[in-house]
Protein backbone atom coordinates (compact mmCIF):
# COMPACT_ATOMS: atom_id res chain seq x y z
CA UNK A 1 0.00 0.00 0.00
CA UNK A 2 1.37 3.35 -1.01
CA UNK A 3 1.87 5.35 2.15
CA UNK A 4 0.82 8.85 1.25
CA UNK A 5 1.11 10.61 4.59
CA UNK A 6 3.16 13.72 4.08
CA UNK A 7 4.82 16.05 6.47
CA UNK A 8 3.12 19.22 5.36
CA UNK A 9 3.28 22.80 6.54
CA UNK A 10 1.08 22.29 9.57
CA UNK A 11 2.82 19.21 10.90
CA UNK A 12 6.16 20.81 10.09
CA UNK A 13 5.42 23.62 12.54
CA UNK A 14 4.25 21.17 15.19
CA UNK A 15 7.27 18.91 14.73
CA UNK A 16 9.54 21.93 15.12
CA UNK A 17 7.76 22.94 18.32
CA UNK A 18 7.99 19.42 19.73
CA UNK A 19 11.68 19.43 18.78
CA UNK A 20 12.22 22.68 20.69
CA UNK A 21 10.53 21.48 23.83
CA UNK A 22 12.19 18.06 23.77
CA UNK A 23 15.59 19.72 23.33
CA UNK A 24 14.86 21.79 26.41
CA UNK A 25 13.79 18.69 28.38
CA UNK A 26 16.92 16.82 27.28
CA UNK A 27 19.16 19.67 28.41
CA UNK A 28 17.46 19.77 31.82
CA UNK A 29 17.94 16.00 32.14
CA UNK A 30 21.64 16.37 31.35
CA UNK A 31 22.01 19.16 33.91
CA UNK A 32 20.22 17.06 36.53
CA UNK A 33 22.49 14.14 35.73
CA UNK A 34 25.58 16.33 36.10
CA UNK A 35 24.31 17.55 39.47
CA UNK A 36 23.79 13.96 40.64
CA UNK A 37 27.31 13.04 39.57
CA UNK A 38 28.71 16.04 41.45
CA UNK A 39 26.65 15.17 44.49
CA UNK A 40 27.89 11.58 44.50
CA UNK A 41 31.50 12.59 43.99
CA UNK A 42 31.29 15.14 46.82
CA UNK A 43 29.71 12.45 48.99
CA UNK A 44 32.63 10.13 48.36
CA UNK A 45 35.24 12.82 48.97
CA UNK A 46 33.61 13.92 52.21
CA UNK A 47 33.47 10.29 53.30
CA UNK A 48 29.73 10.14 53.77
CA UNK A 49 28.09 6.90 54.84
CA UNK A 50 26.44 5.04 52.05
CA UNK A 51 28.50 6.72 49.37
CA UNK A 52 29.28 3.32 47.83
CA UNK A 53 25.62 2.46 47.31
CA UNK A 54 25.25 5.93 45.92
CA UNK A 55 27.73 5.05 43.19
CA UNK A 56 25.77 1.98 42.14
CA UNK A 57 22.53 3.90 42.11
CA UNK A 58 24.16 6.71 40.19
CA UNK A 59 25.64 4.38 37.59
CA UNK A 60 22.34 2.63 36.93
CA UNK A 61 20.08 5.66 36.94
CA UNK A 62 22.74 7.81 35.34
CA UNK A 63 23.25 5.52 32.38
CA UNK A 64 19.50 5.23 31.82
CA UNK A 65 18.98 8.97 32.14
CA UNK A 66 21.89 9.65 29.83
CA UNK A 67 20.61 7.30 27.14
CA UNK A 68 17.10 8.75 27.31
CA UNK A 69 18.25 12.35 27.29
CA UNK A 70 20.68 11.82 24.42
CA UNK A 71 18.00 10.07 22.36
CA UNK A 72 15.62 12.95 23.03
CA UNK A 73 18.38 15.35 22.02
CA UNK A 74 19.07 13.41 18.82
CA UNK A 75 15.39 13.39 17.97
CA UNK A 76 15.24 17.14 18.46
CA UNK A 77 18.38 17.87 16.44
CA UNK A 78 17.51 15.57 13.56
CA UNK A 79 13.93 16.82 13.38
CA UNK A 80 15.08 20.43 13.18
CA UNK A 81 17.69 19.50 10.57
CA UNK A 82 15.25 17.56 8.43
CA UNK A 83 12.74 20.41 8.55
CA UNK A 84 15.42 22.73 7.22
CA UNK A 85 16.86 20.49 4.53
CA UNK A 86 13.71 18.58 3.67
CA UNK A 87 15.55 15.29 4.10
CA UNK A 88 13.20 12.39 4.79
CA UNK A 89 15.98 10.06 5.92
CA UNK A 90 16.97 12.42 8.71
CA UNK A 91 13.38 12.58 9.87
CA UNK A 92 13.40 8.80 9.86
CA UNK A 93 16.48 8.81 12.07
CA UNK A 94 14.78 11.32 14.36
CA UNK A 95 11.77 9.06 14.73
CA UNK A 96 14.11 6.15 15.44
CA UNK A 97 15.56 8.01 18.41
CA UNK A 98 12.13 8.99 19.65
CA UNK A 99 11.06 5.37 19.43
CA UNK A 100 14.01 4.33 21.58
CA UNK A 101 13.16 7.03 24.09
CA UNK A 102 9.57 5.85 24.41
CA UNK A 103 10.64 2.20 24.51
CA UNK A 104 13.03 2.80 27.40
CA UNK A 105 10.37 4.80 29.24
CA UNK A 106 7.86 2.00 28.69
CA UNK A 107 10.25 -0.73 29.84
CA UNK A 108 11.14 1.29 32.94
CA UNK A 109 7.43 1.64 33.64
CA UNK A 110 6.93 -2.11 33.34
CA UNK A 111 9.87 -2.79 35.65
CA UNK A 112 8.54 -0.34 38.25
CA UNK A 113 5.05 -1.82 38.09
CA UNK A 114 6.37 -5.36 38.50
CA UNK A 115 8.55 -4.28 41.42
CA UNK A 116 5.51 -2.64 42.98
CA UNK A 117 3.38 -5.75 42.50
CA UNK A 118 6.21 -7.89 43.85
CA UNK A 119 6.55 -5.60 46.86
CA UNK A 120 2.83 -5.78 47.59
CA UNK A 121 2.87 -9.58 47.22
CA UNK A 122 5.82 -9.91 49.59
CA UNK A 123 4.16 -7.60 52.10
CA UNK A 124 0.97 -9.65 51.93
CA UNK A 125 2.89 -12.91 52.36
CA UNK A 126 4.78 -11.56 55.35
CA UNK A 127 1.49 -10.37 56.84
CA UNK A 128 -0.15 -13.73 56.30
CA UNK A 129 2.75 -15.70 57.75
CA UNK A 130 2.61 -13.76 60.98
Amino acid sequence: MENATLVNEQSRERLLKSAQWSRYLAIISFVGLALSVIQTVVGIVVGQDGAASGIIGLVISGVITFIMASNLMNYSKLTKLSMETGDGAQLSQAFYHMKIYFTIMGVLCIIMISLLVLGILIALLVGLLQ
Binding site: L15, S18, W21, D87, M98, G106
Partner: protein, 146 residues
Protein backbone atom coordinates in the same frame (compact mmCIF):
# COMPACT_ATOMS: atom_id res chain seq x y z
CA UNK B 1 17.50 25.62 -4.80
CA UNK B 2 15.04 27.33 -2.48
CA UNK B 3 12.14 25.99 -4.51
CA UNK B 4 13.59 22.55 -4.47
CA UNK B 5 13.88 22.72 -0.69
CA UNK B 6 10.34 24.01 -0.33
CA UNK B 7 9.00 21.26 -2.48
CA UNK B 8 10.80 18.52 -0.59
CA UNK B 9 9.77 19.95 2.79
CA UNK B 10 6.17 19.80 1.73
CA UNK B 11 6.72 16.41 0.29
CA UNK B 12 8.53 14.43 2.95
CA UNK B 13 7.02 11.01 2.70
CA UNK B 14 6.63 8.87 5.73
CA UNK B 15 8.64 5.97 4.37
CA UNK B 16 8.57 2.45 5.66
CA UNK B 17 11.23 3.00 8.32
CA UNK B 18 9.56 6.11 9.70
CA UNK B 19 6.25 4.31 9.68
CA UNK B 20 7.63 1.45 11.75
CA UNK B 21 9.32 3.76 14.23
CA UNK B 22 6.21 5.92 14.60
CA UNK B 23 3.93 2.93 15.07
CA UNK B 24 6.17 1.48 17.75
CA UNK B 25 6.34 4.90 19.43
CA UNK B 26 2.55 4.94 19.35
CA UNK B 27 2.36 1.59 21.07
CA UNK B 28 4.58 2.63 23.93
CA UNK B 29 2.94 6.04 24.23
CA UNK B 30 -0.43 4.36 24.46
CA UNK B 31 0.89 2.00 27.14
CA UNK B 32 2.32 4.88 29.16
CA UNK B 33 -0.94 6.80 28.81
CA UNK B 34 -2.99 3.83 30.03
CA UNK B 35 -0.67 3.35 33.02
CA UNK B 36 -1.09 7.06 33.76
CA UNK B 37 -4.86 6.79 33.61
CA UNK B 38 -4.83 3.79 35.95
CA UNK B 39 -2.71 5.76 38.40
CA UNK B 40 -5.13 8.71 38.18
CA UNK B 41 -8.02 6.34 38.81
CA UNK B 42 -6.24 4.95 41.87
CA UNK B 43 -5.60 8.50 43.07
CA UNK B 44 -9.30 9.25 42.77
CA UNK B 45 -10.21 6.12 44.71
CA UNK B 46 -7.66 7.11 47.34
CA UNK B 47 -9.18 10.57 47.51
CA UNK B 48 -12.70 9.25 48.05
CA UNK B 49 -11.43 6.76 50.63
CA UNK B 50 -9.47 9.28 52.66
CA UNK B 51 -12.33 11.76 52.37
CA UNK B 52 -14.72 9.32 53.98
CA UNK B 53 -12.35 8.32 56.73
CA UNK B 54 -11.64 11.99 57.46
CA UNK B 55 -15.31 12.98 57.56
CA UNK B 56 -15.92 10.40 60.23
CA UNK B 57 -13.28 11.92 62.50
CA UNK B 58 -13.84 15.67 62.19
CA UNK B 59 -17.40 16.93 61.92
CA UNK B 60 -16.57 20.51 62.76
CA UNK B 61 -14.36 21.39 59.76
CA UNK B 62 -16.78 21.46 56.81
CA UNK B 63 -14.99 24.15 54.82
CA UNK B 64 -11.86 22.06 55.08
CA UNK B 65 -13.47 19.31 53.01
CA UNK B 66 -14.05 21.54 50.03
CA UNK B 67 -10.44 22.68 50.10
CA UNK B 68 -9.27 19.10 50.47
CA UNK B 69 -11.26 17.88 47.48
CA UNK B 70 -10.20 20.87 45.40
CA UNK B 71 -6.52 20.30 46.12
CA UNK B 72 -6.83 16.61 45.33
CA UNK B 73 -8.75 17.27 42.13
CA UNK B 74 -6.17 19.88 41.22
CA UNK B 75 -3.34 17.39 41.64
CA UNK B 76 -5.19 14.80 39.56
CA UNK B 77 -5.95 17.38 36.86
CA UNK B 78 -2.33 18.48 36.69
CA UNK B 79 -1.24 14.91 36.33
CA UNK B 80 -3.84 13.77 33.87
CA UNK B 81 -3.45 16.38 31.12
CA UNK B 82 -0.19 15.03 29.64
CA UNK B 83 -1.54 11.51 30.01
CA UNK B 84 -4.59 12.34 27.92
CA UNK B 85 -2.47 14.25 25.40
CA UNK B 86 -0.14 11.26 25.08
CA UNK B 87 -3.08 8.93 24.53
CA UNK B 88 -4.62 11.12 21.85
CA UNK B 89 -1.22 11.49 20.20
CA UNK B 90 -0.83 7.75 19.95
CA UNK B 91 -4.39 7.20 18.76
CA UNK B 92 -4.41 9.93 16.11
CA UNK B 93 -0.95 9.12 14.82
CA UNK B 94 -1.97 5.49 14.51
CA UNK B 95 -5.10 6.39 12.53
CA UNK B 96 -3.17 8.87 10.41
CA UNK B 97 -0.55 6.33 9.44
CA UNK B 98 -2.85 3.33 8.97
CA UNK B 99 -5.44 5.19 6.93
CA UNK B 100 -3.04 7.67 5.32
CA UNK B 101 -5.17 10.44 6.82
CA UNK B 102 -3.24 13.69 6.76
CA UNK B 103 -5.50 15.51 9.18
CA UNK B 104 -5.37 12.84 11.83
CA UNK B 105 -1.61 12.61 11.47
CA UNK B 106 -1.26 16.35 12.01
CA UNK B 107 -3.59 16.27 14.98
CA UNK B 108 -1.47 13.48 16.44
CA UNK B 109 1.63 15.65 16.08
CA UNK B 110 -0.24 18.48 17.76
CA UNK B 111 -0.71 16.31 20.83
CA UNK B 112 2.92 15.21 20.78
CA UNK B 113 3.94 18.86 20.79
CA UNK B 114 1.41 19.48 23.56
CA UNK B 115 2.82 16.67 25.70
CA UNK B 116 6.40 17.89 25.39
CA UNK B 117 5.36 21.51 25.91
CA UNK B 118 3.38 20.62 29.02
CA UNK B 119 6.27 18.62 30.50
CA UNK B 120 8.59 21.51 29.71
CA UNK B 121 6.35 24.09 31.40
CA UNK B 122 5.83 21.88 34.46
CA UNK B 123 9.58 21.45 34.75
CA UNK B 124 10.05 25.22 34.59
CA UNK B 125 7.43 25.74 37.31
CA UNK B 126 8.95 23.07 39.54
CA UNK B 127 12.44 24.47 39.07
CA UNK B 128 11.15 27.94 39.90
CA UNK B 129 9.49 26.66 43.09
CA UNK B 130 12.71 24.86 44.07
CA UNK B 131 14.76 28.01 43.45
CA UNK B 132 12.39 30.10 45.56
CA UNK B 133 12.53 27.56 48.39
CA UNK B 134 16.31 27.46 48.12
CA UNK B 135 16.47 31.26 48.19
CA UNK B 136 14.24 31.43 51.26
CA UNK B 137 16.36 28.78 53.00
CA UNK B 138 19.55 30.64 52.11
CA UNK B 139 18.18 33.97 53.31
CA UNK B 140 16.96 32.34 56.49
CA UNK B 141 20.35 30.73 57.04
CA UNK B 142 22.19 33.99 56.42
CA UNK B 143 19.88 36.00 58.68
CA UNK B 144 20.71 33.57 61.49
CA UNK B 145 24.29 34.67 61.32
CA UNK B 146 23.49 38.36 61.47
Amino acid sequence: MLEQNKESIFGIQIDLDSRDYLLETCKWARFLAIVGMVISGLLMVLMIFSFFSLSQVNDAFSGFYVLYILVYLGVIAIYIYPVIALYRFSKKLRIGIDQADQLEFNEGLRFLKGTFRYMGIMTIIILAIYSIILLIALIGGISNFI
